[in-house]
């Protein structure tokens, strides 16, 4: 699975060279809230706390948010 992720990553980066990066005036869609990576940061933090208290995986949510004591 790790290898699959690495291949996807490389493909994305190489693929990026074939895809046209948008010019300044072509960012209308990217400007929409739904297209941002974190349209609702408070919700993301809340859901991350829930999932980490019921599962045992971490990361992918920035750093330094403080612990929840879910030993």
């Amino acid at each position: 699975m790790r290898r699959a992720a690495a291949i996807t990553l490389i493909a994305l980066l190489l693929g990026g060279c074939a895809i046209e990066p948008p010019r300044a005036w072509e960012r209308d869609l990217l400007a929409r809230p739904a297209m941002t990576m974190d349209p609702d940061p408070l919700e993301r933090r809340i859901m991350y706390n829930i999932y980490t208290s019921r599962e045992n995986s971490f990361g992918g949510n920035g750093v330094g948010g403080g612990g929840c004591g879910c030993n």
Binding site: L30, G59, G64, G66
Partner: protein, 386 residues
């Protein structure tokens, strides 16, 4: 700020290879913490109320009510402050081993935590300092963090890096002599890239190194290693279906740590603008994890529960019956409704149904003899821009 001289460069056949650098989230068009060019973004106060309950067959287990507040305060074009506060009130019982709640231990009943972040914006970069605090009656956490974000010249690519130091203090309501500590350093690097007018992707790598006390003081037998190193790789892709009002957000996270846990998380969310003021976001989340090396199944020795075979004769260095360290998969279905009441106010409602089953594990067998866990989350929110 002074203007710059601009050249009209001949571009045979379109973009040069150097333009493969890409751009993040319309940095100049959309203010916010991710947009180093613009600044702190609009003032915002956001409040959410979460109602969480989980249960296993036969009995309810845990119920949590949790209000949360988030404030973004743009001090000036160059400075911004963000602050958040959360309180949990928890009722219910936590199993003492596997899924048994015989002589169930009390859960931490009340938790509150706050965090604050100050960011300085300079042209194409943003630098932040943050602190977070979390307190419960048997657990305290203090964390500080530093973060930097850098945009490329054409705003098509954005780099971010962060480091944090966390110190936790673990005590126990049941054992007044327990007073342990744990220290963790987290490092995070990522890049976000606009591939085209309709696509933006992000890659983020997190590494965490922790030393200290990891055992669960409320479990009857629970001895865990005194260190935990964790690695997570996150890939995200947002795609806008041109000609429609639909955005598909996809995210995959791979995780591994020195406890022996390996997991994958896959999330699909589809944001649909039904009208100008109303959006619906259905989502699916798939999760699968392997068991920790020292997790033991509910197969007990002649001594009876919770003692595993060989516990008396050859006690292992580490072991835990905590169901959260077992091998299982989880599926959740969620839907969120967003109401843009007017230019300033937004309300939202999110409902999620979550289920964990050992038979749903991918890439190996699930841990045996554990009851499924189901949970429901309802989140109501209201926010106002300034």
């Amino acid at each position: 700020m002074v203007g710059e001289v601009v050249a009209a460069i001949e571009r045979p056949g379109g973009r040069t290879a150097a333009a493969c650098g890409s751009l993040v989230a319309a940095a100049l068009a959309l203010p916010g913490a991710t947009s180093a060019q613009l600044g702190p973004g609009p003032g915002l106060v956001s409040f959410k109320w979460l109602d969480y309950s989980d249960r296993q067959p036969g009995f309810d287990r845990i119920r949590v009510q949790s209000p949360s507040l988030f404030v973004n305060y743009p001090v000036s074009e160059h400075w911004g402050v963000e602050a958040g506060y959360t309180a949990d009130s928890v009722s219910g019982a936590s199993p003492r081993w596997h899924t048994s709640i015989a002589s169930a231990s009390p859960m931490r009943e009340y938790r509150h935590g706050g965090n604050v972040r100050v960011t300085r914006y300079t042209g194409r970069a943003a630098y932040s300092v943050g602190a977070a605090v979390s307190d419960e009656n048997d657990f305290d956490s203090r964390a500080v963090s530093l973060q930097g974000v850098w945009n490329s010249d054409d705003n098509n690519r954005s780099w971010n890096a962060a480091v944090a130091y966390t110190r936790d203090r673990i005590t126990s309501v049941n054992d007044p002599l327990l007073d342990q500590a744990r220290r963790t350093v987290d490092v995070n690097v990522g890049v976000t890239q606009a591939l085209s007018r309709t696509d933006i992707v992000q890659v983020e790598l997190t590494y965490s190194r922790g030393r200290g006390y990891y055992s669960d003081p409320y479990k009857f037998i629970d001895i865990r290693p005194e260190s935990r190193d964790q690695t997570a790789l996150l890939l995200r892709w947002n795609h806008y279906f041109d000609g429609s009002d639909v955005v598909l957000r996809t995210s995959w996270r791979g995780y591994r740590d020195t406890f022996g846990i390996r997991s994958q998380t896959l999330i699909f969310e589809s944001a649909v603008d039904v009208t100008e003021r109303f959006a619906v976001v259905p989502g699916v989340r798939l999760y699968s994890q392997s068991a920790a090396d020292f997790y033991y199944d509910p197969i007990y020795s002649y001594l009876g529960a919770p003692y595993p075979p060989g516990w008396l004769e050859a006690p292992p260095a580490y072991l835990s019956p905590d169901q959260r360290l077992a091998a299982f998969g989880a599926v959740s279905l969620a839907v969120k409704f967003i109401f843009r009441i007017d230019d300033l106010w937004t309300a939202d409602l999110r409902v999620e149904a979550y289920e964990q089953r050992t038979t749903w594990r991918i890439g190996g067998p699930g841990s045996p003899d554990l009851a499924p866990l189901t949970a429901t989350f309802v989140q109501v929110g209201i926010a106002r821009q300034f």
